[in-house]
């Protein structure tokens, strides 16, 4: 079957997963308490008939089953429905927000992954030394502080008291900046939210890489490498790190998926106009179609990220291909 068959198998599995998610996704929001129409019109003077009319307009009068069928039908045309709250197609609302989130998440995650892996590998290699305990205790601390509470502290100190960084948003409102000036402004706004995400993920990567490194260093092939008379640095990079990074790559797949969903708190704290902030607003407004759409995007991004990692894995770990090759 080989690498190609392995890839096809993984892709089919991903498609099936997405289908299952669509179904679950639909049901979950219908089971949540709260009436969307009531949330739209909090005025008690609105009559029952008027509410009924609105329900019919959004198809909420149909039974659950009927709603699901029409949802699937529209979904197949790429129509995710109309946002109750913004009165615009859900797809437009979401696509407006995706770039901002990706910018924040991918930047933060890349930096965190890079630094976390280096420090984690170093700590594992220097196990039991001062370097190790310093890195380990610092990352445990970082890992235990939720990103949003670190965010609030950062806001208080650096934005409110010291006024080095802006309080919220992604750009300075009505600044009229373009080109390089605009990007500098975005970068300036991104510092604090990115930092609070980075700190949390660095902690995770350090702990993970360190643990994986310790496992690998106990393996017989490390001793074999020493018996060959290789330099310690060669053993570290070519034998230990190469093998220790395999589980780290797996977690990265999961992280990229969850990071898109997981920045809800950070985006809310910093009023970052991304998809996480959108979720917060949609929940507050009981905007079913929007929530459903956003969750679908989250789920698909998790599935896709895992698919990509699976495919990369098949490439970097020679043992995986054999797993898919069973005849």
């Amino acid at each position: 079957m080989g690498l190609k068959g392995f890839a096809i198998k993984k892709i089919i599995a991903a498609i099936i997963t997405i289908f299952a998610i669509v179904g679950v996704n639909f049901v979950i929001f219908r089971m949540a308490p709260g009436d969307p129409v009531r949330m739209m019109f909090r005025d008690p003077r609105i009559s029952g008939e008027q509410m009924q009319l609105i329900r019919e307009k959004f198809g909420l009068d149909k039974p659950l089953w009927g709603q699901f069928i029409s949802y699937l039908k529209e979904l197949s045309h790429g129509n995710l429905g109309l946002s109750f709250w913004q009165k615009r197609p859900v797809l437009d609302v979401i696509t407006d927000r995706i770039p901002q989130t990706l910018l924040l998440v991918l930047t933060a995650l890349t930096i965190a992954m890079f630094l976390g892996t280096i420090f984690g590998a170093l700590a594992g290699w220097k196990r039991g030394t001062r370097v190790d305990s310093f890195i380990l205790s610092l990352s445990l601390t970082m890992y235990s502080i939720p990103a949003f509470s670190l965010g609030i502290i950062l806001l208080l100190i650096f934005a409110y008291i010291l006024s080095i960084f802006p309080l919220s948003g992604m750009t300075t409102p009505a600044s009229g900046l373009t080109g390089l000036g605009y990007w500098k402004d975005v970068l300036w706004h991104m510092c604090l939210p990115a930092f609070s995400i980075i700190m949390w993920y660095i902690g995770e990567y350090v702990l993970l890489t360190r643990g994986s490194m310790l496992d690998t260093l106990r393996k017989d092939y490390i001793l074999t490498a020493r018996a060959k008379g290789l330099k310690e640095s060669t053993i570290l990079i070519k034998h230990a790190l190469r093998n220790a990074l395999l589980p780290v790559i797996t977690v990265t797949g999961v992280n990229i998926g969850f990071a898109v969903a997981g920045v809800i708190e950070v985006e809310t704290v910093f009023s970052w106009p991304g998809i996480g902030r959108l979720v917060y607003d949609a929940v507050m407004k009981r905007d079913y179609p929007l929530l459903q759409g956003v969750f679908l995007v989250f789920a698909i991004s998790i599935v896709l990220a895992n698919l990509v990692i699976d495919l990369i894995y098949g490439y970097i770990d020679p043992r995986i291909k054999v797993g898919g090759e069973k005849k």
């Binding site: 001793l223 074999t224 020493r226 018996a227 060959k228 034998h239 190469r242 770990d317 054999v322």
Partner: protein, 315 residues
């Protein structure tokens, strides 16, 4: 002059339960082109002895005393860099359990060539070519050289390990239980491969095993270890035919012979002594059927008798 001389080597493991004297005053020497067999039960200190020869003893273990003189240089007092340059180039080892001793994400030719590149100034292509030749020498064809370890059988992995250890023409090769865990036919193949290489590459070998009959043919002389000490040492033939120490006798009786008459196999009663608090006197006395009073009180010293070196009061 002997290629390797081990004098009064003591390697202790400092554990929470106490000090385990894994190797407790071992002496032996090997001449060039000679093969020494080191046999004994699990935990008798034979692997620790082998690891000490390459200075692979790690905490909580430590070489506390003794001298290991290899080719005129003392291994114990060498700097880390000196010992690194020695490893793989002048002294090589094939570890027990070759199944996990290869890096799973590297092709076997890469793993072999990397050792050559470390010790010799040649190009990568030349090193790969040498690796392929070496694989051919141990009976693995060119078409296999780009394989990953998981694509090979146990016997083939052991061949790769042997190829890797001999690729720089080491002066001394250590084989730690080279055939343990392989089936009998593969054992036979690996042993004849070792004999083959020994002749072709003029190797000096230390071979470790727990089964005397397996290595008797391969070795020139054999040392029997018990509880961290060598209890008997003699030429392979003499030791096999005429073992003097009760423990050597028991070891030989514990394994079946194909050619001779059918005898009932005798197991050695009891278990190997704990190394933390060994029994007083001769360490074998609780399991020895000839044990006398003196054995319980005084530790025997190793003496020469009829060409054997033997540590037993009764001989």
């Amino acid at each position: 002059m002997a290629l390797l001389e081990v004098k009064n080597l003591k390697v202790y493991y400092f554990t929470r339960k106490g000090t385990a004297k894994a190797v407790d005053g071992v002496n032996f020497s090997i001449d060039k082109n000679e093969t020494l067999g080191l046999i004994g039960e699990s935990g008798c200190g034979k692997t620790t002895t082998a690891l000490s020869l390459m200075r692979f003893v790690t905490p909580p273990g430590r070489i506390v005393k003794g001298k290991i003189v290899f080719d005129g240089r003392d291994i114990i007092s060498m700097s880390n860099e000196e010992i690194r340059l020695l490893r793989g180039k002048e002294i090589s080892i094939v570890f027990q359990a070759a199944q996990n001793a290869l890096n799973p994400v590297m092709t076997i030719e890469k793993q072999i060539s990397e050792g050559i590149l470390e010790h010799e100034s040649i190009t990568e292509d030349e090193a790969l070519e040498r690796a392929k030749n070496q694989l051919n020498l141990v009976g693995i064809g060119d078409e296999r050289s780009k394989s990953y370890p998981h694509e090979l059988s146990g016997g083939m992995k052991q061949r790769v390990m042997i190829a890797m250890a001999t690729v720089c023409n080491p002066k001394l090769l250590i084989l730690d239980e080279p055939v343990t865990g392989l089936d009998v036919i593969v054992q036979r193949q690996i042993l004849s491969l070792i004999n083959d290489l020994r002749a072709k590459l003029h190797l000096t070998i230390v071979i470790i095993a727990h089964d005397l009959s397996v290595i008797a043919e391969t070795c020139d002389k054999i040392a029997v270890m018990y509880a961290g000490k060598i209890v008997e040492q003699a030429s392979a033939v003499s030791l096999y035919k005429n073992p003097m120490h009760p423990y050597s006798q028991a070891l030989i009786k514990a394994y079946p012979s194909i050619k001779g008459e059918k005898k009932k196999l005798k197991s050695i009663p009891g278990a190997p002594p704990r190394l933390v608090n060994p029994p007083p006197g001769c360490k074998f006395h609780p399991r020895c059927s000839y044990a006398a009073d003196i054995c319980r009180k005084k530790e025997p010293i190793i003496r020469e008798k009829e060409g054997h070196l033997v540590a037993c009061h009764l001989n």
